[in-house]
């Protein structure tokens, strides 16, 4: 409401003191100036053809006109959101184009190194094998850490003081040790104790221990959102503590916990990349091997693209679940 009234005041002010803003905001003016900008973009001189002064004069003049035009349109409350979106994309596109044309980067070399097509073709099948390892590892670790977290949360709910102290120590310690340190210790130090874990087991154990602690906290927080009245009602009906957890607390906590758990899972999938330091042949490790073998950073770019392709939908999914949860409320 206040934002609305303040823009109204702004409108009144600008209508009174800067009337020309209203002439240039007419649709026809916007469109024709757009055409002019396009023509100007095509006419921009190359660095080599004109003097440096003329070149920079033109470049900055064009930038000023482009930005000014965009600002005038983007701040116009009469234009539709759709039009503004187009203008925003156009602005980004033009800036990219200017960078491409005038930054002086050697694009051919860049493409040769980072987006080398023959190397890409040679890398995909190795990288996908790495991706498979990454997916399997993170799926196994995820299920085991959900199991660990749930068991811990259930045990903690019995409010046994000394056991809870142990749990708190576990949770706090493993939340404060970086996963990479945990993996290095498990892989390089534990053999001296006679415990030999191969690289897969090391990754699995490290991720389970670390994210198990996070998951336990998540479940505890979820279970605490279930009001004490719910528990009292169940207990007063004669349900045991165990039955109350099973029928009342956990079913109500789960919808609250799921978005957080999915977020944990995304973080964990990214952390599987750390496993490359203990020679687990997961995605990043495969990419780095290809990088050395083919002496080209292209496989690393490919790995980044694969991570993006796998994780971006999951990130969107978490957002979607969170907004849905907020809209429906924890439906009680």
């Amino acid at each position: 409401m206040t934002a609305q009234t303040s823009t109204d005041a702004l409108h009144r002010f600008s209508r009174k003191h800067i009337p020309w803003l209203y002439y240039i905001r007419r649709p026809l003016v916007s469109l024709s100036s757009f055409a002019c900008i396009l023509i100007y973009a095509f006419l921009l001189p190359d660095k080599t053809t004109v003097s440096t002064f003329i070149f920079y004069l033109n470049l900055y003049a064009f930038l000023a006109i482009l930005l000014g035009w965009s600002v005038v349109i983007l701040t116009d409350s009469d234009k539709s959101e759709y039009a503004k979106m187009l203008v925003a994309f156009f602005l980004l596109f033009m800036l990219g184009l200017l960078f491409y044309r005038f930054s002086g980067a050697d694009w051919a070399r860049l493409v040769h190194f980072f987006f080398n097509f023959p190397i890409m073709q040679g890398s995909w099948h190795v990288l996908f094998r790495g991706l498979r390892t990454t997916l399997i590892l993170s799926a196994c670790s995820f299920f085991s850490c959900v199991f660990v977290g749930l068991v811990i949360a259930v045990i903690r709910s019995f409010n046994h003081r000394s056991i809870n102290l142990l749990i708190t120590i576990y949770v706090d310690v493993f939340r404060s040790i970086p996963v990479i340190v945990l993996m290095v210790v498990l892989f390089f130090a534990f053999p001296f104790l006679g415990i030999f874990l191969n690289s897969y087991l090391t990754t699995f154990t490290a991720l389970t221990l670390s994210y198990g602690a996070y998951t336990a906290e998540t479940f505890r927080a979820g279970m605490e959102t279930v009001s004490s009245g719910q528990v009292e009602a169940a207990r007063s009906l004669g349900l045991s503590h165990w039955k109350t957890l099973q029928k009342i607390t956990i079913p109500q906590a789960i919808p609250i916990v799921i978005p957080v758990l999915t977020g944990n899972m995304i973080a964990m999938m990214k952390d599987t990349a750390i496993a490359s330091i203990v020679a687990t042949p997961e995605l990043l490790k495969s990419a780095r091997e290809l990088y050395t073998a083919k002496t080209s950073p292209t496989p690393l770019i490919c790995a980044a693209i694969i991570f993006l392709a796998v994780l971006l939908p999951m990130v969107r999914l978490v957002n979607h679940m969170e907004t849905r949860l907020q809209k429906s409320g924890p439906h009680y």
């Binding site: 009001s227 009245g229 719910q230 009292e232 009602a233 169940a234 207990r235 007063s236 009906l237 004669g238 349900l239 045991s240 039955k243 029928k247 009342i248 079913p251 109500q252 439906h331 009680y332």
Partner: protein, 243 residues
């Protein structure tokens, strides 16, 4: 006849706060006992101690002649015999009305789902909500929620019912429908312990009224005695404010 509830010198403190300071009561079968008093006088805590939602700090409680603080007592069996109705309803939001009612008989009494459902429908009929069986609590009004909560407690076929300010969270126009159900139960011979501020209802339905003040029973008697000839000045002041 032995009293169904016998409370002996009950004490309860929350850290420094001494809420109950030695309460002794006896309740006979089929008796309707009502607790009145100012807020903070320990009425709710008393009910909650009797079914051990709160652990008393001292004193004895016998339900049906059994000391419920003996270590060999299964408190869930004791609680199954005591239905409790809360001020804030506390229906389970992830279950429909009929599922709310069926939960305890199926989980605790181990009767079949079919039988539990039939029993639940009978009870919903009794509280006048048979058509709301498959609604989730969020779709019900406050009065309807509280009636479902009563049916849920009754489904365990308890010997005793506790009501902890059952109408305090309700809009005024919904108080009547809940009190009607309670009056029906009283007429059927249920042993009831009621904490309430509905003085009109208490005067009609209760056999005995106890006035609590600062964790002690200050005055006790029939509704007629308490409401018409209160002995203590504090009781008179309280009744003067609420009536």
């Amino acid at each position: 006849m032995d009293p169904i509830i016998k409370v002996n010198e009950l004490h309860k403190s929350f850290k420094d706060l001494h809420v109950l300071r030695g309460i002794s009561i006896e309740v006979q079968r089929s008796e309707v006992v009502s607790f009145i008093g100012r807020s903070g006088s320990g009425k709710s805590t008393l009910l909650r101690c009797i079914n051990r939602l709160e652990e008393p700090t001292g004193g004895e409680i016998f339900i049906d002649g059994v000391d419920i603080h003996e270590p060999y007592i299964d408190i869930n069996k004791v609680r199954a015999e005591i239905g409790m109705v809360f001020q804030s309803f506390n229906l389970f939001p992830h279950m429909t009305a009929i599922e709310n009612i069926m939960l305890a008989p199926v989980c605790v009494r181990k009767i079949s789902r079919q039988e539990a459902k039939e029993r639940g429908m009978t009870l919903l009929n009794k509280v006048g909500l048979a058509d709301k069986a498959d609604e989730f609590p969020e779709k019900l009004s406050g009065g309807q929620r509280q009636r479902v909560a009563i049916a849920r407690a009754l489904a365990m076929q308890p010997q005793i019912m506790f009501f902890d300010e059952p109408t305090s969270a309700l809009d005024p126009e919904m108080v009547g429908e809940v009190l009607d159900v309670m009056a029906l139960m009283a007429s059927e011979g249920m042993t009831m312990l009621i904490v309430s501020h509905e003085m009109g209802f208490i005067r009609e339905a209760a056999d005995r009224v106890l006035f609590l003040e600062e964790g002690k029973i200050l005055e006790e008697g029939s509704p007629d005695q308490i409401f018409n000839q209160p002995q203590h000045q504090i009781t008179r002041d309280f009744l003067g404010k609420v009536l």
